[in-house]
Structures are given as structure tokens and as C-alpha cells.
Subunit: 250 residues, 2 copies
């Protein structure tokens, strides 16, 4: 047996998120079924993290173990034929036997894609919120995120994680292809964290909150103080970063 990383993209609209759960179909479940069918043996996968219902990924990573003679190029092609249109396998690479998609990830990048104008072709892959927003002020607030580590205020209540500490390395709004994109990178994220941050930044952009208010919300460590979560349709996991040492070298 060898260990492999599988890189994939998916549109989350039709799924109850990444992680297998009793109520509704998930990406993990559909992918495990496809791998098990194509490889004719039961395959379990471990994802780099979980995305919530309706959230997308332009790059997600998971690991699985399979026979040593895997023809990865042919497997990618077969999986793409087998899987529905809204899940696309990008590539499969061998990693060291001890590599772990979740524990070895050193960084995760999310993008939140916002359109201020009605766009009939991106209703499921952006959030349409007319604004106006003061993006300069939102960027001033976003920069403050880099000076804190405890993000309890932006975490879903009653989760089972041991700490709410994250190191945020990047957090800013920029324009691309007619959209406003919020890019955020951290070592780890708490559940619902990006959507709660975006929702609160939008309140800053509307003038409902000042940059100081934004800092006070973080310092309060109280989810009730933050703004409403932004809609799932705008959120994309765009990258999971690993140290190069975990990849197998021939």
C-alpha cells in the first residue's frame, strides 16, 4: 500500500458540505464511493479540513491509501468520467507513508467572492450584495486581523476544538474580473470563521461599525457581538499548503 494525495475542485451548492454525515449527501461520501468503485476495493479518505454546506473549493486535498501500482493519470481520467459534473479531480500524487492531509497542512487559503451587480451567470458561485461598501475601510479592519490570535468571536458555538487560536497571515479585499474578492490565509480556521469575518467586515463597509468596533468585537471573544455570517455561495477554499518534505520522491 502507498499513500496518495488527491487534489480536487467542487461546486458545493448541491452538497451538505465536505464531511460525511447522516443527513444528506457530501463530497467525501461521493468521492469515496467513486474511488472504491474505480479501484474495486473499499477506500477511505481523510480531507484537509471540512467545508460547510454550499461552500465551494477550487482546490481541496485529501489522502487515501491504495495499491502500490496506481496509474494516477488513468485514475484521474476514470474518476472524472465517473463523478458528477460538479466535482473535478485535478491530480493525484504519491506522498510519504506518514503524510496526513489534515495534520500536515501548514496553511489554508480561502476566497470570498462578492458581486455588487446582479450577475445571472454566477448566482451559485458568488454572493450578490448590492452595497455600497467602503472597501478602504474594510481593508483597514481586515489588516487588524493579523494582530490577534484568538478568534472565538468568529467561531461557531459549541464546537469540540481545544483552542480558538489561529495565525492569520493574509486578509484583504481586491478586485478581479468584476468581483470583489476577500483573500484570507491562516494556519487553521475555526468553523464558520471566514463567513463570520466577511459578514462583520461588510458591516464595517456599510458604516455600521468602525475599525475600532471591529477590534473590540475580536477582543470580546463573544460570537454574539460579530455580524451575521455572509452567505455560503461566495466562499471558496482555494489552496491547502504543505511542506515539500511530505511528497514522495522517486
Amino acid at each position: 500500500m502507498k499513500r496518495y494525495f488527491i487534489y480536487l475542485a467542487y461546486k458545493g451548492t448541491a452538497y451538505k458540505g465536505w464531511q460525511t454525515q447522516p443527513n444528506g449527501i457530501t463530497i467525501q461520501e461521493v468521492l469515496e464511493k467513486a474511488l472504491s468503485t474505480v479501484l474495486r476495493t473499499t477506500i477511505s479518505i481523510v480531507g484537509a479540513g471540512r467545508t460547510d454546506a454550499g461552500v465551494h473549493a477550487s482546490q481541496m486535498v485529501a489522502h487515501f491509501d491504495a495499491g502500490p501500482d496506481l496509474e494516477t493519470t488513468a485514475l484521474v481520467r476514470k474518476l472524472n468520467s465517473f463523478l458528477p459534473q460538479d466535482i473535478a479531480i485535478q491530480h493525484i500524487v504519491e506522498v510519504k507513508a506518514t503524510a496526513h492531509a489534515r495534520f500536515d497542512a501548514i496553511g489554508r487559503v480561502y476566497e470570498y467572492r462578492l458581486t455588487l451587480n446582479k450577475n445571472p451567470f454566477m448566482t451559485e458561485t458568488t454572493a450578490y450584495i448590492p452595497g455600497p461598501f467602503d472597501f478602504d475601510k474594510m481593508n483597514a479592519a481586515a489588516e487588524k486581523l493579523l494582530h490577534y490570535t484568538d478568534f472565538t468571536s468568529f467561531s461557531k458555538l459549541h464546537t469540540d476544538v481545544k483552542t480558538n487560536n489561529c495565525t492569520i497571515r493574509t486578509a484583504h479585499w481586491s478586485q478581479r474580473g468584476g468581483l470583489w474578492i476577500f483573500t484570507i490565509e491562516a494556519d487553521r480556521f475555526l468553523r464558520n470563521m471566514v463567513r463570520a469575518i466577511v459578514g462583520t467586515l461588510l458591516d464595517v463597509g456599510r458604516g455600521k461599525l468602525s475599525v475600532d468596533d471591529f477590534c473590540h468585537i475580536i477582543e470580546a471573544k463573544d460570537r454574539c457581538r460579530a455580524g451575521t455570517s455572509a452567505p455560503a455561495s461566495g466562499l471558496f477554499l482555494t489552496e491547502v499548503r504543505y511542506p515539500k518534505e511530505i511528497f514522495a520522491t522517486d
Copy 2:
């Protein structure tokens, strides 16, 4: 009463095409209902043409008559709030009382958007056909379209039009944003014509037909000789052109 042109975009996936018909909901019907509700009087619209079920428009034009004191900016905003997410009004302009969205159009532009790679975010707004295709050969065949006028071979059978003559001014494949785009402009189009042309060009690109075969198909004036129509999901009406004389000047 004054006459207005309304410019709009729509994703056709959920509709049975532009034109009102008994079996299923259409763009025309939804737009007439929205205009009638917002303006509190029965409004009928005349479109620049019709798009088939599942076909999109990044720019469609229709005309309607309404009271002389229309505040067009406010009306665009109200209509966009009222209409579903997959129909967006771009602008409304006054035209001369005799202007006609269909009869005055001097050119129509369509794009066919093809992806060779599985793209989970564009399943409804591209056609995914893996290829490989010889786009140089497809462009050599597309150029031949400019030398013919009778396109019976690419028309739906049993339609009520008087002639199958069209003047094609542009027809070529190019790459944009990771997609292959076929752009075609003509004074008019027959029903199903673009999808039939694209389907036949794809057969040229696969090597099933030569450029000479493509010409012979046009010359045969027989729909049975052409290739299968390409899927509706890739087709966009992108522009309707009018002489500037028809627009009202204050």
C-alpha cells in the same frame, strides 16, 4: 406613450427559451409579468429574436411601450429586485416611436463556449466536451461560412420562415479565460443554426469531416447531412446591433 428598449442578461437553464409558450416558463413571460407589476399596467414586450430552451443571453433586447414619464434608472433597480437572480436588467433607453427590437436589428452576435476540461463551476454555462479538437482546421471550415448565404443545412426543419438566407460576417474560434469560444455574427439566424454549425465544426475538429466535406454539407441544403447540434448550455446571445438612428435624442 413612448417606446423603450430594455437590455437584459439571463441564464437560460431554468427556462423553456425566450418566447412565451404553453409548456413551461419563459423569459418573455417572466419579464412581462415583472414590468406589468412594477408599472401597474399590462405591458407586452417584443424581443429581438428568440433563444431556445437552456440558451443564455449576456445581452438581449426587447421593446415595450409605456407612459412618457418613465424614470428608467429607478425602473431598472425595481425590476432587478423583483426578478429572479437568473435574469438581470442592464438598462432601459427611450427609442423612436417606430423602432422595433426585431425588425430594426441589423446584426446579432452569438458565442458558443466550450471547455475541454471539467469545470465544476461552469456546468450550466459552458459545454464540456473533452476533445481533442483541431481548432486550426475548425477555423478553416468556419471561414467558409462567409462564402455562402443559404443555410438550410443548419436550420431546424419545418419552420415558418420565408427564406433560409443569412449573411454571416464573422465566424471563428478563439481562446479566452481557459475556454474555447466560437463567435459568430450575422444579420439574422435560423432556428437552431448556431448549435448545428458548432456541432458540425466539432466533427471537423475531431477529424470526422474535412473542410471540403463541411462545404459540401452547406451546399447540400439538407439538415440530415450536418452534425448533431451542440448542447444548449454553451450558447450565449451576446449582442444585438441597431442603427443609431432609431434611438431617441433629446
